[in-house]
């Protein structure tokens, strides 16, 4: 959902998904890079960075086309001084509709309302936002009304496509490892250097594509 957040969807996310343009069989390489950066491997595709940020590496996303295809539709945003190519809302919606998990479906009303607003379409929806969900949907950036406390928190996440080898357009990460510290080194630079050291083709463009899963 980070990509959606950056595009104005009032939601939150708990971890970051990064879609890397590599075969899934090479996931160990990615984990070793993160490990060399001080990250803690929690699962085959999940890493906790030094600042406690959760990152989930993906090698494909259901409902979307190939990496190369999706990057062509990216929306470029300026995010903390970096140019970031973000997956358009329509693609995010398509992916969530395909995956169809409960948390994905819970996001659809918000995503569609934001998408409709962007296109100027007037649409009357019979589906109210998911009231009562703490993190997604209507809760947005405020606490749920009525003091309901934490109910059914849902893991939402951001995806960054990261082609770092082969014939794909060259991109590098654009996640700031610690955005709370002004001027902190970005994860982009560190990862790029480490990727090169690990035998990956160094990136030449400091951009990435963000998509919400």
């Amino acid at each position: 959902m980070s990509a959606a957040i950056l595009q104005g969807v009032p939601a939150t996310t708990l971890d970051t998904d990064i879609w890397i343009d590599l075969p899934e069989t090479q996931y160990v390489k990615v984990l070793s890079i993160c490990s060399s950066l001080g990250g803690e491997t929690l699962a085959a595709t999940v890493v906790s960075l030094r600042d406690d940020t959760l990152v989930n590496f993906l090698y494909r996303i259901d409902g979307l086309g190939a990496f190369k295809t999706e990057t062509k539709n990216a929306v470029r945003l300026n995010w903390f001084g970096m140019k970031v190519d973000v997956m358009p809302l329509e693609s995010i919606i398509r992916s969530k509709e395909t995956v169809g998990r409960e948390k994905d479906l819970a996001h659809l009303p918000l995503l569609k309302k934001r998408s409709n607003f962007a296109t100027g379409r007037k649409k009357r929806s019979n589906t109210s936002l998911q009231k009562g969900w703490l993190i997604p949907a209507s809760a947005g950036w405020t606490r749920p009304r009525g003091g309901g406390g934490i109910r059914a928190p849902i893991r939402l996440f951001l995806v960054i496509f990261c082609p770092i080898s082969g014939d794909s357009p060259e991109y590098s990460f654009n996640i700031r490892e610690n955005s709370r510290v002004p001027g902190a080194d970005s994860f982009t630079d560190t990862f790029t250097d480490s990727a090169a050291g690990a035998g990956f083709k160094p990136t030449s463009q400091k951009s990435a594509i963000l998509v919400a899963d």
Binding site: S2, N116, K122, R143, P153
Partner: protein, 56 residues
């Protein structure tokens, strides 16, 4: 913007309209900070803090 929101979908409550208006008017950086602030307000920003609520 408020007028556009009103025209877009009457199904939004006032509260939701405000959330949308704030989000739409913000820059990507501001949107991300609001998102982070929201998590911090609930002590859900870091993974270690989230463990207290049962997150893995």
């Amino acid at each position: 913007m408020r007028k556009r929101l009103d025209q877009l979908d009457s199904g939004l409550s006032e509260h939701e309209k405000i959330l949308f208006a704030r989000s739409l008017a913000a820059t990507p950086d501001e949107r991300w900070r609001m998102h982070e602030s929201f998590l911090r307000s609930l002590n859900l920003y870091t993974r270690s803090a989230r463990k207290a609520y049962g997150f893995k």
